[in-house]
């Protein structure tokens, strides 16, 4: 009886109501899990961990001289989303990526949204990842963000909120697919009865998305995944996607630019590449244009890109939409471009550049979550209620020194989910959710996503670099 002692406590719990009743869409899972003893559960857990290790589903721990590889901790209790909720999320995510792509096209062309004063122009022009050198650069089909991994959370009432839009190189999708495989092996009989939607189409959807943006609508484009190399922490994912799509995985050194075209060096000579799914940040793409010391990039790539001979997914310059200050304006973008209200709301956000907001931020730092505008991975962040007085003071100084670079949000009490703890029992742990959205000939959202879980008791940080793990995410055909 794994759940018999489980306490939802004062949080919004995904599986149980405040009264301790199991929610209808978790009912069949509970029945199955209640048949398992702790020993059996432990065995399954070890088997899953071992299989991840054997398959090399690991990430490299940076700064470790022995090149230690770890598995991304995986919790066997799946997170379940009923169809009704999923339809809501789908609508919200489609709306958001549509607005973001319109925004990016606009700021790299007419800049209507700035001219009409919807967003103060200075915010865009001073954004770290805004690339003025790509003004009026035509990108295929006007799509900037082809692959998006929006982070969602739920607050203490169960309301979904967008935490951030990852419009550069969102990672983690291979874990979604591997987690599902692992769950299938561990609980072979569970899926059929539960009515879980499959996630296996992701790679072919991604391939379709990439084909759609081939230069000049080329029929049978050559596609490659560009990776920083085998020491990158996400290398497993890069090869996984390349393999699933049946395309080449290339490093910078495999590519060369001639006559503004990109070629791969093969055993039979040079072969032209049409679309690159790049998993390298803008800064490292081309040492002629961006960081001259980058050994990962390809000299001349930007020339080929400008000439329209190669498409990059995502396009160059999407990082501006990831800026946490720009996030604040996404609801306005939705209104401006689509004439709609946002379907999934933002987390209330304060900008240090606004006088009123700044005052509030400095007076209430200890209650707020403060974030640097352009950091990711849980870095450059202060969680006020969990911080020491010295840390709070440090962040206040940083905010004052560089107001453009900081935002603050109220500390959201993230929803919790039953998670198997070190004490061999179910305990509530905070979670978030990253669905993957593909924007090509149409918008495709994988019915599932990466549910990350903060494995440390009470922790709100779900990042894998800081003690986070993941769960399989089930989107149901029905509502129970």
């Amino acid at each position: 009886m794994l759940f018999s002692k489980y306490q939802a406590e004062e949080f919004f719990d995904e599986m149980f109501t405040a009264e301790g009743q199991v929610r209808p869409h978790y009912k069949s899972l509970q029945n199955r899990f209640d048949q398992l003893g702790v020993n059996e559960f432990d065995q399954k857990r070890q088997a899953v961990d071992l299989s991840f290790m054997r398959m090399g589903v690991t990430f490299t721990v940076y700064g470790d001289s022995e090149g230690t590889e770890r598995i991304f901790p995986f919790d066997l209790v799946p997170r379940i989303i009923p169809n009704k909720e999923w339809e809501y999320l789908q609508r919200g995510l489609e709306q958001r990526i549509t607005a973001l792509n319109m925004f990016l096209h606009d700021i790299y062309h007419e800049q209507r949204i700035l001219k009409e004063g919807i967003i103060p122009a200075s915010y865009v022009l001073t954004a770290k990842h805004f690339r003025p050198e790509f003004m009026n650069c035509k990108v295929m089909r006007d799509i900037y963000i082809h692959i998006c991994g929006t982070d969602l959370i739920r607050d203490d009432k169960g309301q979904y909120l967008v935490l951030e839009d990852n419009g550069r190189c969102p990672s983690g999708v291979s874990y979604v697919l591997e987690n599902r495989q692992a769950m299938r092996r561990a609980f072979p009989n569970l899926f059929e009865r539960a009515g879980v939607r499959p996630v296996d189409n992701y790679a072919s959807d991604l391939l379709n998305t990439l084909r759609y943006v081939a230069p000049n609508g080329k029929d049978n484009p050559t596609i490659a995944v560009l990776t920083p190399g085998i020491y990158n922490s996400a290398y497993f994912e890069h090869t996984f996607l390349a393999k699933e799509m049946g395309v080449h995985i290339v490093e910078g050194g495999d590519l060369v630019v001639r006559d503004s075209k990109v070629f791969m060096r093969t055993t039979k000579g040079l072969e032209q590449v049409d679309v690159i799914y790049r998993r390298i940040d803008d800064d490292f793409l081309d040492p002629c244009v961006f960081r001259p010391d980058s050994a990962l990039g390809i000299p001349g790539l930007v020339n080929a890109y400008r000439a329209g001979n190669v498409s990059l997914a995502n396009a160059i310059g999407t990082g501006v939409a990831d800026d946490k200050v720009m996030y604040y304006f996404v609801p306005r973008m939705i209104k401006f471009y689509l004439g709609q209200d946002p379907i999934i709301p933002n987390v209330p956000t304060y900008l240090a550049t606004e006088k009123e907001d700044l005052k509030y931020m400095l007076e209430n730092t200890a209650k707020l979550v403060v974030k640097a505008a352009n950091e990711a991975g849980g870095y450059g962040m202060l969680i006020g209620p969990k911080a020491t007085a010295a840390e709070v003071k440090d962040f206040q100084a940083r905010i004052k020194a560089e107001p453009r670079n900081y935002i603050a949000q109220p500390t959201i009490s993230l929803s919790r989910h039953p998670t198997y703890s070190d004490l061999s029992q179910m305990e509530g742990r905070h979670i978030d959710f990253r669905p993957y959205i593909l924007y090509g000939d149409k918008i495709r959202i994988m019915p599932g996503g990466l549910t990350r879980v903060a494995l440390k008791k009470g922790s709100l940080v779900v990042n894998s670099s800081q003690g986070g793990g993941s769960k399989d995410t089930w989107v149901l055909y029905g509502d129970e």
Partner: protein, 359 residues
């Protein structure tokens, strides 16, 4: 196929074959120590030193260990990470290459290479090696056999298979020549020298076992172990899959598949050198080999093998390493030539925009 990936497939196979051979050689040597009547420090040293000479780096060994005995040499050849040819180093390199070619090899194959790596890295395995080396080396060899089976069961016939097979057989040819070289003195003396050492038979058997050739040899010759025939079997047999001649022939076959050249003709340097070496092995007798000196002959063959390896690399894999600074310069010139007016227009538009904002 990407040149880099082809190179990785080639080296993955080479390193796996090397790990297998080093395992077999060390294992056989450990076991044949038990066959001697008298075993003193001198004999032990004589037994191990040639292994270091032919499989590793003599100088490196002497800088790391005080004396050559069973422990130091097996450690050096098995677990020493500074020795690039130790079994551990070979497996690390094989996995590194497998990972770089991850999209071109089957999942099952990757899993086995990874399993082998996790096996040799684990603490329990190190204990196994200390307590029961036979089981340890057996595990390494078995894994290599399994990977060969997976290669033929899962690899698409074409360039992937060609590079993997070339790596396998080039390495195997090289290792067989080294196995013979370890005992070249015994063999040479037994054939050309006046008297026969009591231990000759033991050593001949060890040579055969080091190449998994003992049973095949008996089956072929029926007449008991004779030094000259042992050397002949491993050098010139046209049917034993580890003989030098067989390996070079197989290698040559896969090399030609890439261009479709017929035997007797060549289209590139690699084919020329490979064909020439094969012809030499096809038209050589053991009398000629021993007249030249077995060691000298093996040395000469090893050089040829190495030349073939270099030629493959230059024909199919090597590309002029781009000088980054020069490449950047070149691309910038291209850019300034092609920069159209619209570019500069947009730039100035943007600047006015920015100026407006600042006002």
């Amino acid at each position: 196929m990407l040149s880099r990936v082809a190179n990785s497939l080639f080296w993955m196979s080479r390193y796996l074959e090397r790990a297998e051979n080093v395992s077999r050689i060390v294992d056989v040597n450990l076991q044949s120590l038990l066959d001697y009547k008298t075993l003193d420090d001198k004999r032990i040293k004589e037994q191990w030193e040639p292994l270091v000479n032919t499989l590793g780096d003599d100088e490196l060994f002497r800088s790391l260990y005080k004396k050559s005995d069973s422990h130091s040499v097996t450690e050096f050849l098995t677990y020493n990470e500074e020795n690039p040819n130790s079994i551990l180093s070979c497996i690390i390199s094989a996995r590194h290459n497998a990972r770089a070619a991850r999209d071109q090899i089957a999942l099952e194959m990757w899993e086995e290479v990874n399993r082998l790596y996790l096996f040799i890295r684990s603490k329990e395995t190190k204990k196994l090696w200390q307590e029961s080396p036979y089981d340890f080396y057996r595990e390494i060899k078995q894994s290599s056999y399994k990977l060969q089976g997976l290669t033929s069961a899962t690899t698409i016939h074409g360039i992937n298979l060609e590079f993997m097979m070339m790596g396998r057989f080039l390495e195997r040819a090289d290792m067989t020549s080294r196995i013979l070289d370890v005992k070249h003195r015994t063999l040479q003396d037994a054939v050309c020298g006046p008297e026969e050492d009591n231990n000759t038979m033991i050593e001949c058997a060890a040579v055969l076992r080091s190449s998994s050739a003992y049973e095949a040899y008996q089956h072929t010759y029926v007449s008991g172990v004779a030094p000259k025939k042992v050397a002949e079997f491993l050098l010139l047999s046209d049917s034993f899959p580890r003989s030098l001649r067989f390996c070079v022939r197989t290698f040559d076959h896969f090399l030609r598949k890439m261009t479709g050249s017929d035997p007797g003709y060549f289209r590139n340097e690699a084919e020329k050198l490979s064909g020439r070496l094969l012809a030499e092995l096809n038209y050589t007798t053991m009398n000629e080999v021993f007249a030249m000196g077995l060691h000298e002959y093996l040395d000469h063959v090893q050089l040829k093998l190495s030349d073939v390896g270099v030629a493959i690399f230059e024909t199919y894999i090597f590309y002029q390493q781009t000088d980054l600074a020069k490449e950047i310069e070149y691309q910038k010139q291209q850019q300034s030539q092609s920069q159209s007016q619209s570019q500069s227009q947009s730039q100035s538009q943007h600047q006015t925009q920015r100026q407006k904002q600042q006002q």
